[in-house]
């Protein structure tokens, strides 16, 4: 049986006195692959921040099994003015593992090189992060998260604003990271189809409503109607889920 890495027990999340979601119970297991989806304002980012420990729960208990997180933020939130190289950015992933006053060692350099090669951008090592394409930036941020040598990789809207080839090659990379390294992966996205086709379990959020389960249990037309207040049809073609809006005539 897989071990629990993170456990939410009767947790309420929100800001100040404003509760966004209440009575949340769920666990993230070793080698899990979970997608978090929901409409804008449903609490995806708040849930993520609570999970990471950046935001305290308003009630309940979040138990973390001393895990190292590798976090990949939304790409648009990282817009440096300074000319950091790709290597500089990925090296930041090692900082939390070094002593407060110590500098990167050869072993850190080697790990950074390995992570760059893992995400397929070793040739961009000395390039300026600011001058990369959206897809290359996202891979740099994933490499930085991998440099932490995490137990759990958390990605916030990783495919936002990407062109189609980069979009699919990134989803492929995320799937590959999970399969190859048995890495626990948690992916937040508003693109339901993308997430449904790669993850094992799905968290569906709407305001004050929280559901978690296997894809086939969660991905019902009824559930989607409740979450998005709109009618969807869910079909499976060649093993891939296809979710489309039901047009009213």
């Amino acid at each position: 049986m897989n071990n629990e890495i993170i456990k939410f027990t009767d947790v309420s999340i929100g800001y100040g006195k404003k509760r966004i979601l209440e009575n949340i119970y769920f666990s993230i297991l070793e080698n899990d692959f979970i997608g978090i989806v929901g409409p804008n304002g449903s609490g995806k980012t708040t849930l993520l921040k609570t999970l990471l420990g950046n935001l305290r729960p308003l009630a309940g208990e979040v138990t973390r099994n001393k895990v190292q997180f590798g976090y990949v933020p939304q790409r648009d939130l990282v817009q440096p003015l300074l000319p950091y190289s790709v290597r500089d950015v990925v090296m930041m992933g090692r900082y939390s593992l070094m002593g407060t006053m110590s500098n990167p060692h050869k072993a850190d350099e080697e790990i950074v090189d390995r992570c760059l090669s893992h995400v397929g951008i070793e040739d961009l090592k000395n390039h300026n992060y600011n001058r990369l394409s959206g897809g290359q930036r996202q891979r740099t941020l994933i490499a930085r998260a991998l440099a932490v040598q995490p137990k759990i990789l958390i990605l916030d809207e990783p495919t936002n604003g990407m062109d189609t080839p980069s979009h699919y090659s990134l989803l492929e990379l995320i799937s590959h990271l999970h399969d190859e390294s048995s890495l626990t992966v948690l992916i937040v996205s508003h693109l339901l189809t993308d997430v449904a086709n790669i993850v094992k379990r799905l968290i569906l959020l709407e305001r004050n409503h929280f559901q978690i389960g296997n894809i086939e249990d969660i991905l019902s037309e009824d559930n989607l109607q409740k979450t998005y207040s709109s009618d969807f049809s869910v079909s499976k073609i060649n093993g891939e889920y296809l979710i489309s809006s039901k047009k009213k005539v």
């Binding site: 950046n54 997180f69 000319p83 950091y84 500089d88 930041m92 900082y95 500098n103």
Partner: protein, 292 residues
């Protein structure tokens, strides 16, 4: 050559002090610009001046209190003679950065909005403090409030140098944490680095640097040297190390050169340094536009 010799003889500490002030402003400016909190510089200069103005109210006799404890003759001790203005200037700046560093999580008001409020309230408080001050004429106090490069003496130079060395030392020793939290605080926190603490350290040093330099070289000089040399550095530098090198060199070289021009043409030293820095920025910007 004769003018330079004259300048060195007349204002040795002004020359050295202007180099150090330009250096520290340019150094801190790189972080301020990269954090997109340029207006923090403008606000802190006004907060520091309000702190100095507050000292003229003489509500608490801090100098006398400390002198009593350590048995110091305040009148004949260069450091303690101006203790209160420097103390309140620093205290006001620290309070301001303490408040500001805790505001980045709230969603109700933008950071620009908060800084704007700090800016205007500081000016308003300065005016009120000066009006209620029992000392001298308003115009005279206004003059004292805003420092001048030419008035940098040995004590001011030593204070500036010590503050600069301490700042650089802290930023070098803790470069990993400061680099990460100024680059991406959310991920730094997720990876186990206390972003709130390190951002507070960052802002406290920015507050100290701006407060001290404003007191000694004036608000216009400080605000300009926080922005212009680091902007030139960002325009020219292709690597982080180059950005730092270009910024601090520009920051350190322009003030003594402008002292020379100010001396020859009988200009005010601070504004001359600002104009010279701006001319170099324009030349750099146009060169970059034309040649790249």
């Amino acid at each position: 050559m004769e003018t330079i010799q004259q300048l060195i003889e007349l204002f040795p500490y002004a020359i050295l002090g202007s180099i150090v002030a330009g250096f520290i402003c340019a150094f801190l400016g790189i972080f301020v610009i990269s954090q997109r909190v340029v207006f923090l510089g403008a606000s802190l200069t006004q907060v520091s001046i309000a702190g100095v103005a507050f000292s003229f109210l003489h509500l608490l006799n801090l100098e006398g209190f400390i002198a009593g404890i350590f048995n110091i003759d305040v009148e004949h001790n260069a450091f303690f003679h101006n203790f209160e203005p420097a103390f309140y200037s620093l205290a006001f700046a620290f309070i301001c950065v303490l408040i500001f560093s805790q505001t980045y999580r709230q969603k109700y008001i933008t950071q620009d909005g908060i800084l704007g409020m700090i800016f205007v309230i500081s000016i308003a408080l300065r005016i009120i403090f000066i009006q209620k001050s029992p000392a001298a004429e308003v115009s005279e106090i206004e003059y004292i409030l805003k420092g001048d490069i030419l008035f940098i003496g040995q004590t001011q130079f030593i204070i500036l140098l010590a503050a600069t060395l301490l700042t650089v030392l802290v930023f070098v020793i803790f470069q990993k944490q400061l680099k990460f939290v100024t680059f991406d605080p959310e991920t730094a926190m997720a990876h186990g680095i206390n972003a709130r603490f390190w951002l507070l350290i960052f802002y406290l040093f920015v507050g100290m640097g701006i407060s001290l330099t404003t007191r000694f070289v004036g608000d216009v000089f400080v605000f300009a040297f926080l922005i212009i040399p680091s902007s030139i550095g960002i325009l020219i530098g292709k690597k982080i190390s180059q950005v730092f090198l270009v910024s601090v060199l520009i920051g350190a070289i322009i003030p003594p050169v402008s002292l020379y021009f100010a001396f020859i043409f009988d200009f005010s030293s601070g504004p001359t340094a600002v104009v010279l820095a701006f001319i170099i920025f324009i030349i750099t910007f146009l060169s970059k536009k034309i040649f790249t």
